[in-house]
Symmetry: C2
Subunit: 475 residues, 2 copies
Amino acid sequence: MAELPDKRTAFIDWYLAVVEAANLSDKRYPVKGMNVWTPYGFRARRNLDRVMVREIEATGSQAVEFPTLIPQNEFAKEKEHIKGFDAQVFWVTRGGLSELDIPLVLRPTSETAIYPIFALWVRSHRDLPLNVYQIVNTFRYETKTTRPFVRVREIHFFEEHTCQLDEAAATERVRSNREAFRRMAHALALPYLALRRPPWDTFPGAHYTVAFDIPLAGARTLQLGSVHHYRDNFSVPYGIRYEAPDGSERPVHQTTFGLSERLLGAIVGAHGDARGAVFPSEIAPYEVVVVPVVAGPSASSVLPAARSVADELRAAGRRVVLDDGDERPGAKYYRWELAGAPLRLEVGAREVESGRLTAVDRLGRKAPLERAALVAEVGRRLGDYDAELLRRASEALREAISPAATLAELHDAQQVRWVGWCGAEDCGHEIEKAIDGALLGTPEEPLPFPLEPPTRCIACGRTEGVRAALAAQPM
Amino acid sequence: MAELPDKRTAFIDWYLAVVEAANLSDKRYPVKGMNVWTPYGFRARRNLDRVMVREIEATGSQAVEFPTLIPQNEFAKEKEHIKGFDAQVFWVTRGGLSELDIPLVLRPTSETAIYPIFALWVRSHRDLPLNVYQIVNTFRYETKTTRPFVRVREIHFFEEHTCQLDEAAATERVRSNREAFRRMAHALALPYLALRRPPWDTFPGAHYTVAFDIPLAGARTLQLGSVHHYRDNFSVPYGIRYEAPDGSERPVHQTTFGLSERLLGAIVGAHGDARGAVFPSEIAPYEVVVVPVVAGPSASSVLPAARSVADELRAAGRRVVLDDGDERPGAKYYRWELAGAPLRLEVGAREVESGRLTAVDRLGRKAPLERAALVAEVGRRLGDYDAELLRRASEALREAISPAATLAELHDAQQVRWVGWCGAEDCGHEIEKAIDGALLGTPEEPLPFPLEPPTRCIACGRTEGVRAALAAQPM
């Protein structure tokens, strides 16, 4: 089997090769950017969904589902929003054999599908807050090169939409969403930066946007998700109003929180290595792979022993696969390393005799494991593995960022750069030009490690109103 | 609050009123037949999905997901299939600001999306059987009157697609699917008829179709799902071939198994009554509603007692809602009956003192329940409730069907009719005309209760080759 490209020097090639070799997605579907979720990839997606659902429902949000198609007239109601999406939507113009009276948009995001109905659901302050989310597919007519999970035309999407009493309550929801994301990212062992995007990179129609970014390779970053404060920008055109306790009628303030299958791309990109994908245990299609090593005189006892290991772990709620196929053990190890399985248990004659299995985690750490303490030991190893994964990723995040004091230092950046910015749009664009990328924004939360606050704008040199910002090349 | 229409005499009005009053679906979305899944309705759907996933995965099927959009040329490859769906699909013709080179169909079902990829996945007899399923939304440009869950334009759909070695293996998969459906239907407390559809009502492109029908009111039936044997009708045009052990190349034989949100419509239609929806416990958004009855001197102990009841049940894995709102208890009882909650626990001062709660199930059966044995007792009551629900529905099924010996007896049918049919298409159409409906087909499995086998064709009077068949008015 061919070696993977080098992650450091050929990141994109490496990424595409890992997604294919791990069989996470099949991109041979005959529409560009619309990929097939394979059985293995779907398992990872299902586990990701479970984490998102668990954490958002812990904050009192309820699942709903709105239709996929949005009539053109509803789609066009908020002016900035339509401007932002007009060029990148698919249009349904025919039904059966006839032209539709009103063309329908395949949702690129669901504000304009949901808000006409919110206007019916919200009547009184007693209906607030209204916190609902949906996990659906969205569609974007992407003209750039597509990449599995990261830039696709049919997107597995998580979106929360909320209505709040006022601006302060909406600000509080943004904070609560940030906390929910912190818990989700922890389950994925992904460290990140929470940044307020500059105004020109704010979500179309939003008052402001906080996005979560992770550095991946060189100056390259990937946006993991975002939270938006809409104020009443949508509730006014869509008429989402409530009667306050004093009898007055007021528009709600709104927020949204968006995540997607990109999180799987981030897992591949951040944790993967020269041997393939590396899954955190909560997301791994299978947490444990049991490999019987059948050879020698006591071979006949091996397969039943391996089966009982798998059964016992399954009964304890673990996702386990027993790989009892014909390949030799080395080929299986290779394949499950490519696929990113967190823990491999080898069961051979020696293990059966000694009562100690050989356990190897995906970080290559090998140690015997007492068969008698199987379930507890596997839980401990996986917990330890996830912690080590997060530790390594956090170290990589720290190493990926460095301060820059002049625009010249941004050229050919091999890292994400920490710069001073006066807040002026012109200076922002100068920074973006210098790094050939984007000004990601200013930290909304303290960085996971301390960096000296900059004192002057890297573009104009001003010291007044200067703030720290990060510049990078988003994927 | 207004009374519901009468189920017997005004079934459709009653059905629509129950769906709305129980807040299962919001049909005010501005595209006809595309409805909003409310938080309450979505919970029922999620529980339904859980049952379908559990039972199909128990047969070794794996989840996948294929794209929503299908290129016109792939869609047109199987001639019968395209003929069957051409008039009822939505077409995407524009992407962004430009016309697409190849128009895309929103999948009405996914054969033509999946089979080009199956042709890549299947190489050898070792790749077979290939059993995968997906739960996705499908789209049909329905021109008839739409009804929530039962006839909609965006359909929450379950579809299994399989590839088998040969015709016999495919026949065996059809049987296994029928068994899986039996287990699903049992969880839904829905009795049904398994019928082989006549050739003119076979799925477009299939060799034969077995459908599951339930009588709902008068001669009205609802199709719950279907299983299709495709032989090699699709695998030949799509090139899904494998190398047999003897080195020869052969097309696979295929099957599919389809279910949808209709099952929720069937639950409403079959179990619902004059007081609203009636959910079997596995599907109920909440299995148990705890209502504190706060009145009198010891009121202050009631709310904590009610809360502890809800907490204990939740900890035991039950789906519970504590209705501690301001309404009077009677109004809450009324609302939760409309909503179909299986079991209501009333916690008042008397209950706190006696250590016995008042339990009322949705069939109106009231009995005290020992607080000390809460979890076990609730489990027992729900099991008993589900069994009674199935018993009543099975009795209704039996009463809904009666034999007819002449075409004249089919006019103004108030029941589903059991008739003799010689198998000729002309006679089939005569039967359909007489009942103003459809010949549902011939029993693929014995009916749940015995009926005398007919001896002559109800249309032509022939005795040769006569078989039993059911005629009805499908919704």
